[in-house]
């Protein structure tokens, strides 16, 4: 695999050079002035579709963290935590998967244990899909009956994208992936209210780059961009649509189509306004051409390229939300191992088999470690080195990078391996290993391994972390809550659902909790298993870790 160190270095120097440029507000476009009142925040969601083999490979320790937030602070649930830095006193890196590249960033990150997914059915619940990662359990239209009691809702990236607080310029959300079509299992609501498969627009970094940067024509830092010559003509295009809309025999379905088109054209027109390219916007020099040629671990350079692309996209303020995933389809070459079997089916479902002298779960962990090392680490390094011109802080400090992955061979919904980077402009405290497991009754910590059937110790609801993000990124509950989402959990009085859930009234919160009926995952069992404060963000310590 060819590594273009020069272009990468130039790219990073480019972003870093903004540190030396005096901040001149007058050079910023109008929209950026507005952001100086309410600094822009950004979100990057990263998901890998195969699991970690064994939880010991991801978490810094399987032992209970030493500190505790009291139940009164943590909504009835004691929460354990430790400074992440404390784990580095006895070992060189946080875990097998989280290598030494992250040691400089332990105060800018959190690792979460004990976050459990909701459940709906095999398709939407298993961990390898992006919509679950972002709060949605809806399934495919042809299985609508299975999901009939789940309201059609927007995933977190869609909520952010639609929010004028978070995304006032209505920048597009980009979704790219390493390998695969990625749509096989992930479902969201489209503009017409239908649940449709969602997935990355491309797995090709050059295609992604061309889409964002107009085939490389987008100017770099400091350049004045005139309005696109067709900008004003779009007004006449919209007039044409309006004339059709006002014409004869326009049905309500026609109107939906026309209104959606008008909305999109209007957004497009806004993006063609005159502007001055942001300080720190450099995108021309990094490598966009190297593509993976075979299986997953051959793609280190491609992963780094995507990390550079995401950084450039954010620095140029061409998007506020970027999603990135690995393959979710077992049939693609990118998810194949060297012996030709699908990674997930070939390894994840055979945790303890030995392949090429290595136990499968170790092989899986090491493959995940490759991804983290060659994608997450460069991304965090980039974002930490780049300066947000509106705040003078690092880009990382003003945003959230969220990472989670599938957990186990049985698609366990429990204790999804999750970590995050960035402070969302100070709104989210970092530096911790947070453990939300309910330790009551645990006698053998080592038994909380990767096998769901023996992993009986539950934690709290994963979507609460998404609430942390939504609030940290500037949204209010009214921007994302819908009390109907979790209606079945409201006003429970049956103690079988857990005394902590009694009389909760309107639940609210974000995202799906569970179908009303799905075996061990139905909402009653969820209510029993969790503390029911789904609307509350996870409790974190009040200050950053040391």
């Amino acid at each position: 695999m060819k590594y273009n160190s020069k272009s990468r270095r130039m790219f990073l120097q480019g972003t870093g050079s903004t540190l030396a440029i005096p901040f001149l507000q007058s050079l910023l476009p109008r929209e950026t002035w507005a952001q100086s009142v309410s600094p822009a925040k950004r979100f990057v969601g990263v998901m890998t579709s195969f699991d970690i083999g064994h939880i010991s490979h991801f978490f810094p320790s399987l032992n209970k963290p030493t500190s505790q937030l009291s139940p009164s602070i943590a909504y009835h649930q004691p929460v354990q935590y430790s400074n992440l830095s404390s784990y580095l006193s006895s070992k060189p890196q946080l875990s097998r998967m989280i290598g030494p590249e992250f040691n400089p960033y332990v105060r800018s990150m959190n690792i979460f244990r004990g976050l459990d997914l909701g459940m709906a059915s095999h398709r939407s619940t298993i961990g390898h899909n992006m919509s679950t990662h972002l709060g949605v359990l809806n399934g495919p239209a042809n299985e609508a009956s299975i999901y009939s009691d789940l309201p059609k809702i927007l995933s977190m990236d869609q909520v952010l994208n639609n929010s004028l607080k978070f995304n006032p310029q209505k920048r597009p959300t980009y979704f790219w992936s390493y390998g695969g079509s990625g749509k096989a299992l992930s479902y969201q609501m489209d503009s017409s209210g239908q649940i449709v498969p969602v997935g990355p627009s491309t797995k090709n970094v050059l295609t992604a780059y061309n889409s964002v940067f107009d085939n490389g024509a987008y100017p770099e830092s400091g350049t004045t961009v005139p309005p696109h010559p067709r900008r004003d003509i779009l007004t006449r295009v919209m007039d044409d649509y309006t004339r059709v809309k006002n014409g004869r025999q326009i049905s309500s379905l026609d109107k939906i189509v026309l209104d959606n088109a008008l909305d999109k054209i209007s957004d497009l027109q806004r993006s063609l306004d005159s502007s001055i390219v942001r300080a720190g916007c450099f995108h021309k020099t990094f490598d966009k051409t190297t593509q993976p040629t075979s299986h997953y671990t051959d793609g280190r350079q491609t992963l780094k390229n995507f990390a550079d692309l995401i950084t450039a996209t954010l620095m140029c303020d061409l998007s506020r939300t970027v999603l990135f995933s690995t393959e979710t389809s077992s049939s693609s070459k990118y998810n194949m191992t060297t012996d030709g079997s699908g990674f997930h089916q070939g390894h994840s479902h055979n945790t303890y088999n030995v392949v090429n002298g290595k136990v499968n779960h170790e092989h899986m962990a090491d493959t995940q470690a490759e991804f983290i090392r060659y994608f997450i680490a460069p991304l965090i390094q980039n974002l930490s080195a780049a300066t947000d011109p509106t705040t003078g802080k690092s880009l990382l400090e003003t945003m959230v990078v969220h990472y989670s992955t599938e957990h186990s061979m049985t698609h366990s919904f429990q204790s999804r391996p999750t970590m995050m980077f960035g402070n969302a402009g100070g709104a989210i405290k970092t530096g911790y290993y947070m453990d939300y497991l309910n330790y009551a009754g645990i006698t053998d910590l080592k038994s909380t391994n990767d096998i769901a059937s023996s992993h009986l110790y539950t934690g709290t609801f994963y979507n609460r972390l998404l609430v942390n993000y939504l609030q940290g990124l500037g949204l209010s509950p009214s921007d994302y809550e819908n009390p109907t989402y979790n209606t079945p959990l409201s006003n429970l009085t049956d103690p079988n659902y857990g005394v902590h859930n009694l009389n909760l009234g309107t639940i609210g919160g974000f995202g799906h909790t569970s179908k009303t009926s799905f075996g061990a995952g139905d909402y009653k069992n969820f209510a029993k298993r969790f503390y029911g404060h789904y609307k509350h963000p996870l409790t974190l310590p009040p200050v950053n870790g040391t």
């Binding site: 889409s211 067709r230 026609d254 939906i256 077992s330 030709g340 079997s341 088999n353």
Partner: protein
């Protein structure tokens, strides 16, 4: 060879669990059901059929103790001497198990839809899955003679029509439309240059691998719009460059000169400007522009000549606007004529019908000849419509819809992009030909299957032929190796020049594209699932997400077991077998084909480490479909199996279901049963495939549009 050991060790799980993107099966919930609740019937109708005899056995054992003239259910006694008596008593609806009371009331507790409150028969005891299937199959085997779908011929047309949203051009349709437009106005050489420039860097968003028919996608999102914008911008710029401008404007005006008798390219007269706009608008919107006072499209566009000092900019802007307009990007059917007795139903104009036809069968805009027919005739009228329909279907461009349909129907997007080169691990021991799997071979595998359907259609073949055709379409040397044929297929195959495959291959199920596996190992379960899903349309419950229990198998035992034997072993637990007794036969019948599609009469014996022992194992491809199709339904090998399936009602129904889904860009609505019956009966009555393809277009519904109530 070490890898093979791990393969063999691992495949017990992997082969059985690689169903994340396809259906897998929950043991205790395994009851095959059919894709459409009213979608099956059968060729057989005699009450003396094996299906009725088998049903009588179950009815006797489970029902008659109560349902007899002196039993507790004497009010509903069963007459086992006559299948017809069950029909007359309203207990069954021939061909429609899901509409049959007798089937509905069964205590099929394993069905997700089971309602214990009303589905409680037999009242004492239970009914097994196999008993349930026997009864169901019996009902399926009866035919009403009017097709299997619920249809009331007396329903008014309003009830039969489904209101739908305007259809956004699919990426394929968009590209074809732009290309055909440019060809029409610029000639092929310049058109190609302009098209390529406009399309530089354009990649439409990926479509889900689960979406069989990509053209169904109908969501205009920001990414699509940006692509359309960029293309419109680039094309509109290119067309007015010096090298192109004169040709462009002249050709557009010459299409119908109207009052523009003399074209002054440097400075178009007002009438020529107007004629340019009219003609260009006609080309791109596929209908004449409206010029009524309140809605004057021609005037709205022509004003650009007043806005811009440079005429080229005006021309470019008009082109740009039209390339982004509603009626270019969508099949948008308004301003049509309402039926006098129902204002919510529009009688489509000739132009709208021409567009429906061309986008349905060509995936592109009407050509000059079709436009001429639309202009000269009333395509709403039967004779004129048939003329236009025949013109469209006889055009070589109709290959587009056949290929797209076939690719979707048979999920050809799942033909693996990469096959492990060590897939040949079985081959050395057999001393077989080895093929190099690459993009060209993959493409040829897909194309071959498309050609089989296309050939059947063009040569007045029948739907059965798709499963039995033994003509080679292999032109790629690697594919020829797989089939062991020495002569490449002619460019245009006909019955006299066709190269025939060895007797071991016949029909699509025996073609490499439907046999190849990403890991190069034959996988009977994958094959079975594909056939069950795409060819028979039998829906089974979702698979368990959880661990498949391992069944110990000693290394020594592996050496004596064919792949089939190993799969039989690993699906033999009660939990697994509950479903796999249905699944496995659909794959085992193809045991003679290895993971690349080679036919092999014997399998090499391998050690647990994958080392050939030198021995050969006898392949058994005999299968029984007792649990799916009924007792005594058997096949001896792949050829026999293909022949069997080709005659099954399930296959014909599945074909109709898929074709309807593709044709309508949505699953058929319950109100459209009559349309489906018409198409289905063409298959039943052995009419050529082309008649089936024509059928849905021939319906009156094709020339009407129902508006959703505002």
């Amino acid at each position: 060879m070490k890898k093979l050991y791990f393969f063999l060790k691992r495949f017990r799980y992997w082969h059985l669990t690689t169903g994340v993107v396809v259906s897998l099966f929950v043991g205790q919930n395994c009851a095959p059901t059919h894709m459409s609740s009213t979608s099956s019937s059968s060729l057989a109708s005699s009450q003396d059929t094996p299906a009725f005899l088998a049903a009588k056995t179950v009815l006797t054992a489970k029902c008659v103790s109560c349902h007899n003239p002196s039993g507790v259910a004497a009010f509903s006694s069963f007459d086992l001497t006559s299948a017809q008596s069950f029909v007359e008593k309203g207990l069954i609806s021939p061909g429609k198990p899901d509409a049959s009371k007798l089937i509905f009331r069964l205590k099929a507790t394993w069905l997700a839809s089971h309602d214990p409150a009303v589905q409680n028969m037999p009242s004492l005891g239970s009914i097994s899955i196999s008993e349930y299937n026997v009864l169901r199959n019996w009902v399926l085997s009866m035919t009403s003679g009017a097709g299997p779908y619920t249809c009331n011929q007396n329903d008014p047309i309003e009830k039969k029509l489904v209101a739908t949203a305007p259809k956004l051009l699919s990426p394929l349709q968009y590209r074809n439309t732009l290309s055909d437009f440019l060809n029409a106005v610029m000639g092929s050489t310049s058109a190609s240059t302009i098209y390529n420039k406009a399309m530089t860097g354009v990649v439409f968003p990926d479509v889900s691998i689960e979406e069989k028919y990509p053209r169904k996608e109908n969501n205009l999102n920001a990414a699509h719009l940006k692509i359309f914008f960029n293309i419109a911008d680039a094309a509109a710029k290119e067309l007015v460059l010096n090298a192109n401008y004169s040709t462009f404007v002249t050709n557009v005006i010459n299409y119908d000169k109207g009052f523009c008798t003399m074209i002054n390219i440097a400075s178009l007269s007002t009438v020529c400007q107007t004629q340019f706009v009219r003609n260009l608008g006609f080309r791109l919107l596929r209908r004449p522009l409206r010029e009524i006072l309140a809605d004057n499209e021609t005037a709205a566009l022509t004003q650009e000549f007043a806005v811009f000092a440079l005429q080229t900019e005006a021309v470019s802007t008009i082109t740009f606007r039209l390339l982004l307009s509603t009626h270019f990007l969508y099949l948008f059917e308004n301003n049509e004529t309402p039926l006098t007795d129902n204002p919510n139903i529009l009688r489509l104009s000739s132009y709208a019908i021409a567009s429906r036809l061309s986008y349905q069968f060509w995936n592109s805009t009407p050509d000059n000849a079709l436009f001429a027919k639309a202009k000269a005739k009333d395509l709403y009228q039967e004779a004129d419509f048939l003329d236009a329909l025949d013109y469209v279907l006889q055009s070589p461009k109709a290959k587009s819809f056949i290929d797209e349909f076939t690719a979707g129907w048979l999920s050809l997007n799942r033909v693996p992009a990469l096959v492990n080169s060590e897939s040949a691990m079985q081959l050395p021991a057999l001393n077989l030909r080895t093929a190099r799997y690459d993009a060209a071979l993959r493409s040829q595998m897909i194309q071959e299957i498309q050609e089989i359907v296309s050939y059947t259609w063009r040569n007045n073949g029948f739907v059965e032929d798709i499963l039995t055709n033994n003509i080679s379409f292999a032109r790629n040397a690697e594919l020829m190796k797989i089939y062991n044929v020495a002569t490449p297929a002619p460019i245009t195959v006909n019955s006299s020049n066709a190269v025939r495959l060895p007797a071991t291959h016949a029909g699509i199920l025996t073609r490499a594209g439907l046999l190849v596996e990403a890991n190069g190992m034959q996988n009977p379960v994958h094959r079975a699932i594909r056939i069950i899903r795409d060819v028979a349309c039998i829906v089974l419950p979702e698979a368990p997400a959880d661990t498949i229990p391992e069944i110990p198998l000693t290394p020594g035992a592996i050496e004596t077991m064919t792949m089939r034997k190993q799969f039989e072993h690993n699906t033999s637990t009660t939990t697994c077998f509950e479903c796999h007794k249905t699944i496995n036969p659909f794959g085992f019948a193809l045991s003679n084909f290895n993971g690349l599609g080679y036919h092999q009469s014997q399998e090499p014996a391998l050690t647990a480490l994958g080392v050939p022992t030198g021995g050969q194992l006898t392949i058994d491809s005999r299968v029984s479909f007792d649990t799916t199709f009924g007792p005594a339904v058997r096949a001896t090998d792949a050829i026999d199996y293909s022949l069997l399936l080709s005659k099954r009602t399930e296959y014909k129904n599945c074909f109709i279901t898929n074709y309807t889904d593709y044709f309508l860009n949505r699953p058929a609505n319950a109100a459209e049963g009559c349309r489906l019956n018409k198409a289905y009966l063409k298959l039943e009555n052995r009419q050529p495939l082309g008649e089936v393809f024509r059928s849905l277009a021939l319906d009156p519904e094709f020339r009407l549009r129902k508006l959703e109530n505002n």
